[in-house]
Symmetry: C2
Subunit: 216 residues, 2 copies
């Protein structure tokens, strides 16, 4: 059965690959699983048909027949557990890699999203400059700790895993700032992720959707 995911009909990042369907596409490409996509307008995302699949009215969702999953972390875990290639075989090593999905989503992403969202949506607020100092400090604490943990390694737990796929996907959101330049090993880590053929295919697929939609 070909799984079906949802994505933005017109991605708000204009095809930069930062919407959360991109990480699911990347995982599907890594494991060689073909997939279909249902595209949703912002309005359709909040309508009952989609809210029945995703209680928070977001993308992506993942469907295999009657089985529906939401949350990109859960979808990546599901794919990694049902296909070879994104997790090691040994149980404890698998769990360590899965732990990095949680670290990416729950420890690195929140300060990173707060920082990038304030730059997008609060630049005209009187508090922007003062808060930005605080947000950047918080983000840099996490980036420094992640940089120290990664050290000279290629990936976080030996071979490339679903944990790296999620962590790189989260760090990619910093592309529009120059902040990763201060952490050369993290910049190299992200570049290694982007260089993977599966990432390239996922990126091109979502970009093609945006280009077609914005011409139409």
């Amino acid at each position: 059965m070909i799984p079906l995911i949802t994505a933005f009909a017109l991605s708000p990042d204009q095809g930069k690959g930062l919407a959360r369907d991109a990480r699911v596409r990347w995982a599907l490409e890594e494991v060689g699983q073909p997939y279909d996509v249902r595209f949703l307008s912002f309005q359709a995302m909040k309508e009952p048909a989609h809210m029945a699949l995703h209680p928070f009215g977001q993308i992506p969702t993942y469907e295999e027949g009657d089985f529906v999953l939401f949350e990109s972390g859960a979808i990546l875990l599901h794919l990694a557990e049902h296909h070879a290639g994104l997790l090691p075989d040994e149980a404890n090593a698998r769990m360590r890699c899965i732990g990095w999905i949680f670290a990416a989503l729950n420890t690195v992403e929140p300060p990173l999203v707060e920082y990038t969202m304030a730059r997008l949506f609060e630049r005209d607020k009187p508090w922007y400059e003062a808060r930005n100092v605080m947000l950047e400090d918080r983000l840099r604490v996490r980036l420094r700790q992640l940089s120290e943990r990664l050290g000279d390694a290629q990936w976080l737990e030996g071979e490339f895993s679903v944990g790296d796929l999620m962590m790189v996907s989260v760090l990619l959101r910093l592309r529009s700032s120059c902040i990763l330049n201060d952490y050369p090993n993290l910049a190299g880590y992200v570049a290694r992720g982007e260089a993977r053929p599966a990432y390239q295919r996922a990126f091109e697929a979502q970009l093609a959707v945006f280009l077609a939609a914005s011409k139409g």
Copy 2:
């Protein structure tokens, strides 16, 4: 082997059970797994011995001999997969419950923590009042959606699962505000979680540590 977790030597919430070791204690109590605790000062959390276990210098960690895990979501998943009682047997139903761990941590917790942290740490800032309106709006969107999804159900996916354990643990952070009163079914959901004997044992255990430390 008795697992070993880490927790604050002196919890910053003064024993209210909102530190992230509480959800791990709760899960351990639900499955009847005895555990040991290593208590850490704020200083010790940033020292090399702990940073080797937890790259971001936080609690909780989980150790079984040489196997080390960090991130409360990963620890809960590990416990739920290795003990009966926190996940249904059928594979798709299990994954749905696991999906709620991600929803709790990645969709509900971020706006909730932003809201509660601003109340704690930004009340004296000139931007506090104006931002608070925005943060409360964002939080209420998620609470309303979760309330609509839960409806009249006792738990999110039929029987109590690790997904409920995490969602209730996240919502408990709103106890100091009155905001949950506006969502009676969510208030009832949290109360059902708190009423579980395993939750009570976990709560008492962490409170006893705080009371002993603050007397000492």
